[in-house]
Symmetry: C2
Subunit: 410 residues, 2 copies
């Protein structure tokens, strides 16, 4: 088995664990930076390595449209393409098909939609989405699911959840079929060959393919909106279908009230096997991460740290601030006085504000770097608190400090 999950320590429902993948271990709880188009926006893979990121995300919908999963396969798969040697998880694109794309037509077979880039017609089925993710070659791949608006009524939520479970069965069947075949990824040299002067970094152009089928872990997605019964039923049904390497929780943090999200997490936590990792999709604000960890979640992802960073918003231990404000014009402090990231150990708020006001690209990079580092570091602290049995006190103090300064709207 290429995948395994070991729980080192628990604290209430929270767990400190290690999720093993073919590209290395992921210490949990963990935040996974999002590299939608095979790049974590504004960052270099080396930046991510230096801040201790372990698993990162990419997106099957976006990469299928651009540059095409056939291109990624031809370039040796995502790891080789984007030069990330650690674990990668690809989202299936369910969320994107149902939020970004235009003119959707849904039937039991799949979804027809128009590309948000060029309006071209596409038809996604569970099988096609597995083939796309096979071409991308991520370690963890997500089922194709039917995603509905967060506040949908129970009947719509039930319909979508049950369809998602039927599609899950088709995803598993297709992946099983695909895994009997050799990996489609073109065999590439792992490192540039310094002795080949004219072509130092090039795949073996012999038409060979990777000989070993590469294992990919398929995660099902528990849907069910804000309806406890549906969530419980979905979790139970999914867990009974197969011994999944991990479980995702979808359709939360999409506009519902916080108490509803917390209740859903508690319901799902109780209904899923505790032996496997749980991934809460699309959740990435500091408070939500802490509340998720307390409710048995091991993995998180969110575009917030990079998207907010590109707008000038900064996470700090005293809450959020917006670096563009005039008050920072000659502020000699780092973004966050308690942070040791590559922005905070070198640059003042005054300088980074200047970069933003002047539309300089370095500003985007420094804030993205800081915000991602902030969440990675937050999850390392949570892990340490679980291991030392101090989670509840640590979480209370952390949140108190974070909320002490009135949040600046950014």
């Amino acid at each position: 088995m290429s995948f395994a999950f070991e729980i080192e320590k628990t604290a209430g429902n929270a767990r400190a664990g290690v999720f093993f993948t073919p590209h290395g271990p992921v210490e949990t709880p963990a935040f996974m930076p999002v590299g939608t188009l095979a790049t974590v926006k504004a960052l270099d893979p080396d930046d991510l390595t230096r801040m201790g990121a372990s698993m990162i995300l990419a997106n099957a919908y976006h990469l299928h449209l651009r540059p095409g999963d056939d291109v990624v396969r031809e370039m040796g798969g995502l790891h080789q393409f984007m030069r990330w040697d650690g674990p990668i998880l690809t989202d299936s694109g369910g969320f994107q098909v149902f939020s970004l794309a235009q003119l959707r037509t849904l039937n039991e077979d799949g979804v027809e939609f128009q590309s948000h880039i060029d309006g071209s017609k596409r038809f996604f089925t569970p099988e096609l989405v597995m083939q796309i993710q096979r071409n991308l070659g991520a370690d963890v791949i997500m089922q194709f699911d039917h995603v509905i608006p967060g506040q949908s009524d129970e009947a719509s939520a039930r319909d979508a959840s049950e369809r998602s479970i039927r599609w899950l069965a088709r995803c598993l069947a297709e992946l099983t079929r695909l895994e009997t075949r050799p990996s489609p990824l073109r065999l590439m040299r792992a490192e540039p060959d310094k002795t080949a002067v004219d072509m130092p970094y090039v795949p073996t152009r012999t038409g060979e393919f990777a000989e070993q089928p590469r294992r990919q872990a398929l995660f099902p997605i528990v849907q069910g909106g804000i309806h406890p019964t549906l969530r419980r039923e979905a979790a139970a049904k999914i867990a009974s279908m197969h011994d999944w390497p991990g479980y995702a929780i979808g359709g939360l943090s999409v506009g519902e009230e916080k108490p509803a999200m917390h209740e859903m997490l508690e319901v799902v936590d109780a209904a899923l096997p505790r032996t496997h990792p749980r991934y809460l999709m699309g959740v990435g604000f500091p408070e939500d991460l802490i509340e998720g960890v307390r409710r048995g979640v091991d993995l998180f992802d969110c575009v917030a740290p990079t998207r907010m960073g590109r707008n000038g918003a900064v996470f700090t231990h005293e809450g959020r601030l917006n670096i563009k404000r005039a008050e920072f014009r000659t502020d000699p402090r780092p973004l966050d006085t308690a942070c040791d990231c590559a922005a905070c150990t070198r640059f003042t708020r005054a300088y980074i504000r200047h970069l933003f006001i002047a539309d300089e690209i370095l500003g985007l990079r420094l804030l993205s770097l800081h915000n991602v580092h902030f969440l990675l570091s937050l999850m390392r602290s949570a892990r340490q608190a679980i291991r030392t049995d101090t989670l509840e006190g640590w979480a209370r103090e952390w949140l108190l400090r974070f909320r002490a300064t009135p949040a600046v709207e950014v």
Copy 2:
């Protein structure tokens, strides 16, 4: 004396030297990356260090307008503000006042103009420009000069050149006056103080100022358009005024024919003292660098590598290419097979093309990084060729290879 120039070896009129500054030596010939607004666009100072940049540029006009030279002074000067511990040269803004700004009114005292950012009225005099550059604190500062279009007739060129020389005398007098006073730069800690947990990186807020006046080298600018007589007269007049630490050559590569530029370089080369460094302003295409070196130029700067990089244009040893072209869709080669920069040793053309097509910021950084590295590396090769007495043969072969592939218009 804080500044000195040592010539290690000559080859024809070319020289391999070392220009010593208070922030370290610059091995010449050298290309100086341009950080107009206190950041080399799309790059991190650590990127520049890793590629072996020594001296970099910033711009007095731009920094005066945004964030204000008072802000930079308050933050400890440019080196501290942008975290560049190597030498910095600031351009005076003469070029920008006469090219970017609107509604200029010139008199002998100075130039009134409107800011290109907010239309506010400004009046630049040689004295003010020295004060601005004193606040910025660069190692090398440029005189304020009267810049005219490249193809101006001899009468206009003479008028501007002679005014520039009168302004040069005023610049020198003002700098001499400023240097009798303590440095205006606020005293800052050089490094974050890891023991000061709450405020690890902060200036001493005692109202103290740097005690030692910091030396700055004022470079005059030889103007004169494409008129050999004017160039010769300007060079002779300037050289007779003062023992300048170095000389700049302005008003070239602004639309004139290449032979005219080469002739002007030869005229100025012969008229300036060979004992001091010469800086050819705004020139930065590979061929121009090589032709400049052969004519006795030691220092170059240009926005081309970063500006072109942001448009997808790539310098390679086989000429230029544009990474956005469809032919690179699955090209597994690095940008330049003979390059060892941080882009070429990691990423394929296919990946970088994808980043550009998808408007991803990492693409801008990688091409900027590669192009700047290319010119730094070119000047290191030229230096080595001078030291080994192989400059002419090296230059011929280099240019032959560079021109062998028909240049792609980018």
